[in-house]
Every structure is written in structure tokens, then in C-alpha cells.
């Protein structure tokens, strides 16, 4: 377990330059980059690390590049395994496509490595700490935080970075003159028909899938990615229609049906009995956008999944999260003033992400039309060399500028 480096009482007495909420790739990368600018950074997460997360655990080449750009010290390099093949499978058809440049790593290991690197660089770390509310004041922010056994406490920071992922439920209030008022509703815009995420890890002995190969199984109600982690466990992550879960009766039953339907390598990778025994986690609706800044003053910034997410099919979320942490750090460094930062950040962010999100949406839409998808699989099988060039998006898009 990665122990806290600062106690709640002490954190409450400090004036932080930046409070980062959430220690996934977005938050940890942002904290690491900002602390290197010489600012005082506090990173909090409601979980204790290492912690699991519903994720396909595949780093796209772009994500691998983002990780390299973080220049992590050798002791903090995550134990990633290179990914050299992707099986794309849909209802009785499957194709094995060679890939390179991507890798696989468990979220327990990846996120812990990043947090450890952040701590070494001077970030103050407080796990098992949930932020419930942020009040936006004229000259800074006040966050209300809770730890299990302690009374609620307040933290003061110049900027707050919300990197709380899809489950972000933090209330934002603005304090104008006198009374604080609650910002209207949750500003998150969820796309209609959005899928939800399901995930589980299965014990090391399960299935025949070798290390370094990813199986993408596409079914009628969604798709699942299956990959062997560095410690031998099997990671299973799926995006499915929410209604399909209730129709099947349980996440395990739905994934079992999807895998059976697809057959082949997918079925060989995850036997039914292992699925029945697995503890499935679930996420809120996946596809959403939420304003990049919150409150009136622009001192509250969202990055990573908390700001926007499309779908996991292209395996880019962690790359996006790392890149949004980078963009934030770079914009901080380049800005002459608070106001300057506030005008720059949304522009730079949009420039980096708009095209990627749009392409991911197109791919996601294609996957929803199984006949189209099945013929793509067929084509890939007939001409794998062409497919390898034609579908680089299988694990991630191009470079994140």
C-alpha cells in the first residue's frame, strides 16, 4: 500500500498551489508535471493504492509515448508487457492482426507507479480521502474532504484539478458575496445510447490466452477486451448496453453470452465457470462531455475521463488521460498569469483532443453495426498485412500532438 505522505490535519493548514483530485493516469501525470514547475501540489484519491479499475489495460502506442514523456525514474517504471497481436472476433469470425508499439499493464501496477513517481518528485499524497464539494472563492478554492474515521475537513488551494474519472460526483459551489450557491445540476452531458463499462480480473490459471495478445470480442450488445496481465491474471473489460445487463440477469451472464456468441479465441480465453466466479465492477455511462472548467473563476479544471470519454474500443483512454495531464502542465508552465491560463487551456485542450474523440466516435459507431464489422474482420483475415495498416486504431490512434 502506498502510505500517505501528509496527514489530513496538516494538509488542512497548508495553502496548496494545486489540489489534484483522483490519482488515475490523468491526475497523477498532472500532479507530477505541476510539481516539477516548483508548485506545492496535493494529490488525493478516495481509494487506497494499488486499486483496481475497470479497464482493458492496453496502452496504445500514443499512451506508451506519453508515459515515456513523463520521464519516470527507473524504479517507477510500470511493468508493462509488449502487445504484439490483436484478435478481432465477431460471431464465429476472427482475425489475428500483428501490432507493435502498444503494451499491457494492470491498473494496480500502472497507477501505483505513477503515484510513486509523483511522490518522489515532491507531490504530497493522501489516499482514502474523498472530496465531496468544492467552493469556488474569488481568490482560490476550498474543498471539503472526508476520511473514513475523521470528521470532514477543508483544504485550501489556488487551483483544483478534478481528475476523478467517470464517477466524478463532486459538488461545485460558487461563493460570490456572502452565501455560497450550488451550481445548477450536474453539468455532465451523457450521450444518448451510451454504453456502460463492466470489468473483472480472473485468476492466473484461467484460459489459454498467451501474454502479449489481446482478444476483442464484438457481440450484439457490446464488446469485450481480454488480455493477460503482467502477473498472469486475466483482465476482462467490456462496454455494453445497459439494458442488456438486466436482460441477461447479471454482468457475468451477459459477458458469458457475448463470449459464447463470438466463440473461438474469446471462448478459449474465458471459460464460463471462471466468469461465474468473477466479481464484476461496473461504471456509469461512458460517453459524455463535461465542461473543462467549473465554477465562475476558472480555477477548477477537469481533465481525463472527468472531462470527456468516448468508448474503450480503440483503447485510448489512458493515453488521453496522460495527455490531458501533460497539456495542463504545459499550459501552466506557459501561462503568464491566471487569466492567461484560463483563456489558453480550453483552446489547447480542444486542439489536442477534438479529432481523436471524433475518430473514436466513428469507430465506436462502426462497431455497433455488426454486419459492417463482420465484413471488416473477414477482410482482415484475408489480407492481414493490409489490415494491420488499415486499422491502426485497434489499439489507439495516432500521436497526441
Amino acid at each position: 500500500m502506498i502510505a500517505a505522505t501528509v496527514a489530513l490535519a496538516e494538509a488542512g493548514e497548508t495553502e496548496w498551489d494545486v489540489l489534484v483530485i483522483g490519482a488515475g493516469p490523468a491526475g497523477a501525470a498532472a500532479a507530477l508535471r505541476i510539481v516539477r514547475l516548483g508548485l506545492r501540489v496535493l494529490l488525493v484519491d478516495r481509494g487506497r493504492f494499488p486499486r483496481p479499475k475497470v479497464c482493458g489495460c492496453c496502452l496504445s502506442p500514443a499512451a506508451v509515448g506519453e508515459l515515456a514523456a513523463l520521464a519516470l525514474p527507473a524504479e517507477c517504471l510500470p511493468p508493462a508487457v509488449p502487445l504484439h497481436a490483436v484478435w478481432i472476433a465477431s460471431r464465429g469470425r476472427e482475425a489475428r492482426i500483428d501490432t507493435s508499439g502498444g503494451s499491457t499493464v494492470s491498473r494496480e501496477a500502472l497507477d501505483s507507479s505513477l503515484v510513486q513517481a509523483a511522490i518522489r518528485a515532491g507531490v504530497a499524497w493522501m489516499p482514502a480521502t474523498t472530496v465531496t464539494e468544492i467552493v469556488d472563492c474569488r481568490s482560490g478554492t476550498v474543498a471539503t474532504v472526508r476520511q473514513a474515521t475523521a470528521a470532514a475537513a477543508r483544504l485550501r488551494a489556488g487551483f483544483v484539478v478534478i481528475a476523478a474519472g467517470l464517477a466524478d460526483a463532486i459538488r461545485i459551489r460558487s461563493s460570490g458575496e456572502g452565501q455560497a450557491r450550488t451550481a445548477a445540476g450536474r453539468p455532465r452531458r451523457v450521450a444518448s445510447g451510451s454504453l456502460i463499462g463492466l470489468g473483472a480480473t480472473l485468476p492466473a490459471a484461467v484460459g489459454s490466452l498467451p501474454e502479449g495478445e489481446l482478444v476483442m470480442a464484438v457481440g450484439r450488445s457490446g464488446y469485450a477486451g481480454i488480455v493477460r496481465l503482467e502477473d498472469g491474471r486475466l483482465d476482462l473489460a467490456a462496454a455494453v448496453e445497459p439494458g442488456a445487463v438486466s436482460a441477461a440477469g447479471s454482468p457475468a451472464a451477459l459477458i458469458d453470452a457475448l463470449v459464447s456468441d463470438v466463440g473461438g479465441m474469446a471462448r478459449a480465453s474465458v471459460p464460463s465457470d471462471a466468469l461465474a466466479a468473477a466479481a464484476f465492477r461496473a461504471t456509469p455511462a461512458l460517453t459524455h462531455t463535461t465542461p473543462l472548467t467549473a465554477g465562475d473563476s476558472g480555477q477548477i479544471i477537469r481533465i481525463g475521463d472527468a472531462a470527456a470519454y468516448v468508448e474503450p474500443f480503440t483503447g485510448e483512454g489512458m493515453g488521453w488521460a496522460l495527455a490531458s495531464g501533460r497539456v495542463l502542465g504545459e499550459t501552466f508552465a506557459a501561462s503568464a498569469s491566471r487569466a492567461d491560463f484560463q483563456t489558453r487551456f480550453p483552446v489547447v485542450h480542444a486542439r489536442v483532443f477534438a479529432a481523436h474523440h471524433a475518430r473514436c466516435r466513428r469507430v465506436a459507431a462502426a462497431v455497433r453495426r455488426p454486419w459492417l464489422f463482420a465484413s471488416a474482420v473477414q477482410a482482415a483475415r484475408l489480407a492481414p498485412a493490409v489490415a494491420a495498416r488499415a486499422v491502426p486504431w485497434v489499439i489507439g490512434g495516432g500521436r497526441l500532438a
Binding site: 482514502a128 473514513a148 445497459p242 445487463v245 438486466s246 454482468p251 466479481a279 464484476f280 465492477r281 461496473a282
Partner: protein, 366 residues
């Protein structure tokens, strides 16, 4: 599934004992080695229980409490009454307590006893036959044709299993009106001696009964608004939990064994269970408006709150029932639901309880 709860009722024994007095009493039964009474008192205090009901308490003469069932330990090997003697008390007291909870539930539901078609009784603290079910028939005036089922010895989550059976009846027969009665007389199983898990069990368990009356979606009253409905249940045997909690029949009462790992194991496994259980209904934890968590002990509540990152106050109803009634095993969750409904709590509500094995049961109510 859809089981509409038309009414809930609860009943506590006539007398209860303050937790501080219970600690004093426990010292007389070898629970504390000489000179260690302070430690015992501290364990009792940490439960955050104020008082607990017991059918064994008698009209006090001088002290604030009196009981004659357990005699002070004569020596280090004292064990207290035999299981047969304990079961005899169960036979005498369980029916009346169960009937009084059931009577209240029928009244709250506005259902005549004669209209009940199915009876599901639930208890893990005693056995007798003829037992609870027949006493309920005669005590409440249920029809002699009522279809009886007993859910026995399952532990603190027994109410979930009983409600699952009730739902199955209600789904199979749209005319079914099901009465569920949980009765637990945990105070009959007080354990002598200094074994740590026995001391903890002695310090938290209590007596109580609770009942629910419900119908399925096909019943004329199934669509009535203003009622809470169980729309789903989920069950899980926690992996690698071995024998972290066990409930065994001994020669001197039923014996609880409890590992200190229980709260940690629950914390580790509860989030997937809740997320999967909710996903089936298109819900996520953030949608949940109220929580009913079986208060195995105060540490269980704290670990659930931490694992699910619940707001302060989210488990108030569970804490309240623990404080004023103790852990009444299977009856407890219905006390909590009754309190949530009475205090105007919103749905969706997630209810959960844990039992020997470790096992966890979950219900989603709207």
C-alpha cells in the same frame, strides 16, 4: 423480480439492558479474567450500542436489570445452560415476539390475517417443531391452509433469503399474499469464558423480531404507489473468505466464531457486488438515495462506508438501529428499512447483509 412491501412491523422484547450494565453482567460469566473488567467494558463501549432487548430479562428488584437464566460462573470451566435448556426458552418466547411483529406488519399493510396465503419464517437462533409457523397461524389467525416454509440457520442475512422465497411465491402465484417473519433470540446463546470472538458476539447480539407483508407485480395491490418494492437481489460467496464467520450448534448454545478479518474482507468485496447488483437495473452507486446496511458491528458499517465512499450520514438508520437494538441478526435489516421508510428516505435503496462463510446478500429497492 418485483415484490411490493405492503407493510413492515417490528417488535422488541419487553425489557432491554443498557450496554454498560451488560458489560457489568458479562464480567460475572468469566468473560473477563480478574482485573480485566476495564477491557471488557471498553469492548462493550466500542460497539456504540446504547441498549439491547432480551427475552431473558426479568422484573428487576434492586438493580436496573435482572435475569436468572445464566448463573454466575462457579469456576473457570463454567459453560452456562445446555443447548436443550436454551431451546426450551426459545420455544417459550419466539412465537409471541414473532406474532407481535407480524401483527404490526399486517396492520401496516392493511391485510387481514385470513388473506395471507404464504408464510415464510426465518430464524437462526433456535429450532422447534411445531414452531414459529404454527404459533403464527394460531396467534394471528392465519388460515390453516397457509403454505408454510422455514428459512433456518442462515445467519444475519436470513431476511434476504426469506424475501427471495417470498418473491418466488408471489411471482409464481399472482394471488399470493406473503407474510415473512424473522425472529431472533440471540441472547439465548451467551457464551461463557474469555474467547475473544465470543466476547464480541456477546457484546453485540440482541433479541428482536420483524415482519413484512408483500405481494408480487401480478397482484391487485402490487401496483399501489407509496410502497417500497424489492426489484432485485444478488448473492455472493466471498472468495477466499474460508471460515471467517461461522455459526455452529454446540452443547451450550449456538456458537459464533468470528475472525478479525471480517470487516476488511467485506470492504474488499462489497463494491463489485453493489455495482453489479445495480447495473442490472441500469443504476450506479451515485444514483442510490438510501442505504440499509446490516450492522454486524460498528466496524462493518465503517468499512462499508469507506469502500463505497458514502457520505456522512448515509448509514444513519443502520447506526441508529445498532445503537438502540443491537444486532438482532436476520430481523435487523427490516428494522432499518422500517426506519428509512418512516423517516421519509428516498429510493433507490440498497440493502445488504453478511453471514457465515462469508457470504453477502444484497437487495435493490425502489
Amino acid at each position: 423480480m418485483s415484490f411490493t412491501i405492503l407493510g413492515l412491523g417490528t417488535a422488541s422484547p419487553e425489557r432491554s439492558i443498557a450496554q454498560t450494565d451488560a458489560a457489568t453482567l458479562a464480567a460475572a460469566f468469566n468473560n473477563a479474567a480478574p482485573g480485566r473488567e476495564r477491557t471488557l467494558a471498553a469492548i462493550y463501549r466500542q460497539t456504540r450500542i446504547q441498549s439491547r432487548g432480551s427475552v431473558l430479562l426479568e422484573e428487576p428488584a434492586r438493580e436496573p436489570f435482572a435475569q436468572s437464566f445464566y448463573s454466575p460462573a462457579a469456576d473457570a470451566h463454567a459453560t452456562g445452560p445446555t443447548t436443550a435448556a436454551r431451546m426450551e426458552r426459545y420455544r417459550q418466547a419466539a412465537g409471541a415476539l414473532g406474532c407481535s411483529a407480524a401483527g404490526r406488519a399486517l396492520e401496516a399493510a392493511d391485510v387481514a390475517p385470513a388473506a395471507v396465503t404464504h408464510l415464510v419464517t426465518c430464524s437462526c437462533t433456535g429450532f422447534a417443531n411445531p414452531g414459529l409457523d404454527l404459533e403464527a397461524v394460531s396467534g394471528l389467525g392465519l388460515p390453516a391452509t397457509v403454505q408454510r416454509t422455514h428459512v433456518g440457520f442462515m445467519g444475519c442475512h436470513g431476511a434476504f433469503n426469506a424475501l427471495r422465497v417470498a418473491d418466488a411465491f408471489a411471482t409464481a402465484d399472482p394471488r399470493a399474499v406473503v407474510l415473512v417473519i424473522c425472529v431472533e433470540l440471540c441472547s439465548l446463546h451467551f457464551q461463557y469464558g474469555p474467547r475473544a470472538d465470543h466476547i464480541v458476539a456477546n457484546s453485540i447480539f440482541a433479541d428482536g423480531a420483524a415482519a413484512a407483508v408483500g405481494v408480487g407485480a401480478g397482484h391487485a395491490r402490487g401496483a399501489e404507489s407509496d410502497h417500497w418494492r424489492i426489484i432485485g437481489q444478488a448473492s455472493r460467496i466471498l472468495p477466499d473468505s474460508g471460515e471467517q464467520m461461522a455459526w455452529q450448534i454446540g452443547d451450550h448454545g449456538f456458537e459464533m466464531s468470528l475472525s478479525a478479518q471480517v470487516p476488511t474482507a467485506i470492504a474488499e468485496h462489497i463494491a463489485p457486488l453493489v455495482e453489479s447488483g445495480l447495473a442490472v437495473h441500469g443504476l450506479v452507486p451515485a444514483d442510490v438515495r438510501s442505504w440499509a446496511v446490516h450492522p454486524g458491528g460498528p466496524r462493518v458499517l465503517a468499512s462499508v462506508a469507506e469502500a463505497l465512499t458514502l457520505d456522512d450520514g448515509a448509514l444513519d438508520a443502520s447506526h441508529h438501529v445498532l445503537a438502540w437494538h443491537g444486532n438482532m441478526s436476520s430481523a435487523t435489516i427490516l428494522f432499518i428499512l422500517e426506519r428509512l421508510i418512516a423517516t421519509g428516505a428516498d429510493t433507490p435503496c440498497v440493502a445488504m447483509a453478511f453471514g457465515p462463510g462469508l457470504t453477502a446478500e444484497l437487495a435493490v429497492l425502489t
